[in-house]
Amino acid sequence: MKPSTLKWGLPILFLFGALPAFADAFIAQPASDYGLKIADLSYVMMALCIIFFLLVVGIIGYSLWKFRAKGPNEEGVAIHGHTGLEIIWTVVPALIMIVLGVVSTVLVIDQLNPPKKTLLVKVTGYQFGWDFEYYQSDAGATGADFETVRNICGNPAVMVKIKSLHVKSVDELTIPMGTDIRFLTTAKDVIHSFWVPEFLIKRDMVPGLVADLWVHPIRTGTFTVKCAALCGASHGLMVAKLHVVEPAQFQSWLVAQAAAPQPGAKISAVTN
């Protein structure tokens, strides 16, 4: 009974565990070019992990098959260690980690260097909803310019050099496809987190702090913005709609929104 439970337990586990995984994908369908890279890296990582997992299960399974005691009072071979082997299984994983570390660092640096000319969307979270404000960054903007943009998000009274502030859209986010978009995230009360699973990136929205992330959407569609930080009783209901639309459609949407401004939508843009 002992060996049979082990023999049957694993296959059953994998049968049940893997079925729904094959029905869906393992990972959100990327809707941005950065998301594509993350998905690729994730698949490579998962494949590596599965290979190593099979190695572990293989070694354990083989040992159980080959080195099971046949009777009472048996003794194994008194091997205390093997320096060469230990060096191998220290160095090989370390090398894999180095490769993974380098690839990850490249992607971090990618996120750290957003394009100069982007659509800016300031995302403000609160219990339990979202504000989205749209800004257009200057074509010739410099790094310093971004700092001032950061300032306005922390403190709306600060002057800022931006072309225009168009609209404020509550609980609904519309952005153009094929454009670089930079999200500035902050919050009013407690920590929230801005996450569009299809962009495969999230950033916390921390009161008193402005953080950022940028994306380049590559397909249109309707997605869900989710709050990914426990923020109170209705945390699970704190979602917003995200429409990724064609640029022309976005422009007409903007015009329509600007024609009917909502309260609190206007912050005078002053050139400094």
Partner: protein, 555 residues
């Protein structure tokens, strides 16, 4: 459990009734037993919280609890399982086993030990009070400003008080472990003759006394901010919410290793005994624990990659996180190499140890995926993290705890737990836990945030599977309870050393041990794990290069 057997020795002329022997005891073994029994009580409390969560998540439209209760259950499940189940069990098993393994009569500071125990019980009762007065709402991490916003929320105050008491208790335990191991070893037991469980106890002791003060300070600040007009974390008056996360995780990450380190020790004890072979690479196993413990203080911010801290600062934390994967991987390989060319006996403790190797491996892989910042920014704060963390804590710590229960139960009581029931317990625990936690990985990858009480319909089938798995896992624990009842009722004394272990606790102490552990303190003359027959010189030469080839092919 072993009360009738030992209490006559404890206080021969005590005028008090027998139960006070337990209340006033300073015997590390009794203190350990109380810790472990209480831990199992709270294991079931935490399990009921988990049951509530899983029932609410069984379907997307379930309306089992409201948002406040749900967040309370989430907060208390994490708190109870970490602080009232794994932590006290660790304290208990170390108290019981470690002095026996090093040939000591008791801990270095028996009264401090007793004080730590009762502070733990007090703290646990304070936390239990939240179930009646209002559960904390901010999760086991209690991130500010959520934890400081509602100043009338009594659950949060009780939570702070409870954790402070538990923290002090842990510091006392940690200090005791360190001093006992450094000062009370039997003659001949040099540091590198200590069993690896003792090494893990030493490392845990250091982790406790260095990490717990950080949470004490942090929670004191939260308390001052909640009720005494101070500002540390609230942005309204210039506080910094990110500071809370740095402080919390400076405690929180070593805490993770407090929970897993004794598991490393337990598994290192069990695999050699049931493989009839010395542990592979003893010194590397000891050093890797020390290295892991040291590194665990340097990677707290990998919990905060998405927090908005300066992204340039995240890189060193990613690199250090990847580095800690290396000694952990070395341990995995060394455990597997210990089985190689051994004679493996599949008794229940060994089956749990093998279960540990498999599930902990999955937990480790999840950790490496999470270490990569760009991937982490997608899956942090999602169900992927929940899945990973449960593979490490349930598949790692709890599997090892079960292994320890089956392994040392004969030492604690003189009775051996039923093997058949033990295997059924394992089978259902293993299947149930994997059904529960494996789908969580792709739920997170697909887009389900953690700590939510509802979700999109596309995640329904995986969630239902997780709920079914959770119920199987919960029901499986009743088999363990049944096993205790059956075994303790049968009163069928087993052999003194049913596993043919060569640890001091088995070779030189009776089962259960006398109050002062040993009739005579043994003198240690050999290395630990002195199992196996010396290999014939020729065969050893032939096999060494073959093994190497094998590993290279796999590597």
């Amino acid at each position: 459990m072993s009360e009738t057997h030992t209490d006559t020795h404890d206080h021969p002329h005590s005028p008090y009734p027998a139960w006070t022997n337990w209340l006033f005891t300073t015997d590390a073994k009794k203190i350990g037993m109380i810790y472990m029994i209480m831990a199992f009580v709270y294991f079931f409390v935490g399990g009921i919280c988990a049951g509530g969560i899983r029932i609410q998540l069984a379907t997307p439209t379930m309306n089992f609890v409201d948002g406040v209760t749900y967040n309370g259950l989430v907060s208390m499940h994490g708190t109870v399982m970490i602080f009232l189940w794994v932590m006290p069990f660790i304290a208990g098993i170390i108290n019981f086993v470690m002095p026996l393994q090093i040939g000591a009569r008791d801990m270095a500071f028996p009264r401090l030990n007793a004080m730590g125990l009762w502070l733990f019980n007090a703290g646990a009762l304070v936390l239990m009070a939240t179930f009646f007065l209002g559960m904390p709402q901010a999760g086991w991490t209690s991130y500010a400003p959520l934890s400081i916003l509602d100043k009338k929320e009594i659950g949060m105050d009780l939570w702070i008080l409870g954790i402070q008491l538990l923290g002090i208790s842990s510091i006392m335990s940690g200090l005791n472990f360190i001093v006992t191991i450094l000062r009370l070893r039997a003659p001949g037991m040099t540091m590198f003759r200590m069993p690896l469980f003792v090494w893990s106890s030493l490392v845990v002791g250091w982790l406790m006394i260095l990490a717990m003060p950080a949470i004490a300070v942090t929670l004191t600040e939260v308390m001052l901010e909640r009720h005494f007009g101070f500002t540390f974390f609230g942005p309204a008056h210039g506080g910094d919410p990110i500071l809370y996360q740095h402080l919390f995780w400076f405690f929180g990450h070593p805490e993770v290793y407090i929970l897993i380190m004794p598991a490393f020790g337990i598994i290192s004890e069990i695999i050699p005994v049931f493989s009839r072979k010395p542990i592979f690479g003893y010194k590397l196993m000891a050093w890797s624990m020390i290295l892991i413990a040291f590194l665990s203080f340097l990677l707290w911010a990998h919990h905060m990659f998405a927090s908005g801290m300066d992204p340039r600062l995240t890189l060193p934390f990613m690199i250090l996180t990847m580095i800690i994967g290396v000694p952990t991987g070395v341990k995995m390989f060394n455990w597997m190499a210990t089985m190689w060319r051994g004679k493996i006996y599949l008794d229940t403790p060994m089956i749990y140890a093998l279960g540990f190797l498999i599930t902990f491996a999955i937990g480790g892989f999840g950790g490496i995926i999470l270490a990569s910042i760009p991937i982490d920014l997608h899956i942090t704060n999602t169900y992927f993290v929940v899945g990973h963390m449960h593979y490490v804590l349930f598949g790692g710590s709890v599997m090892a705890i079960f292994a320890a229960v089956y392994f040392w139960f004969p030492k604690m009581t003189g009775y051996k737990l039923d093997e058949k029931l033990g295997i059924w317990h394992f089978v259902f625990t293993f299947i149930g836990s994997n059904l529960t936690f494996l789908p969580m990985h792709w739920l997170g990858m697909l887009g389900m945030p953690r700590r939510v009480m509802t979700y999109d319909a596309i995640y329904a089938s995986d969630n239902l599977m997780a709920t079914i798995g959770g119920l199987i896992m919960g029901a499986a624990q009743l088999i363990l309870v049944w096993n205790w009842i059956v075994t303790l009722r049968k009163k069928e004394r087993c052999e003194e050393n049913p596993w043919r272990s060569k640890g001091l606790e088995w070779t030189h102490a009776s089962s259960p041990p006398r109050p002062d552990n040993f009739e005579e303190i043994p003198t240690v003359t050999t290395d630990p794990y002195d199992y196996g027959l010396p290999a014939p010189p020729k065969a050893a030469k032939e096999n060494a290069p073959k093994d190497k080839k094998e590993a290279k092919a796999h590597g």
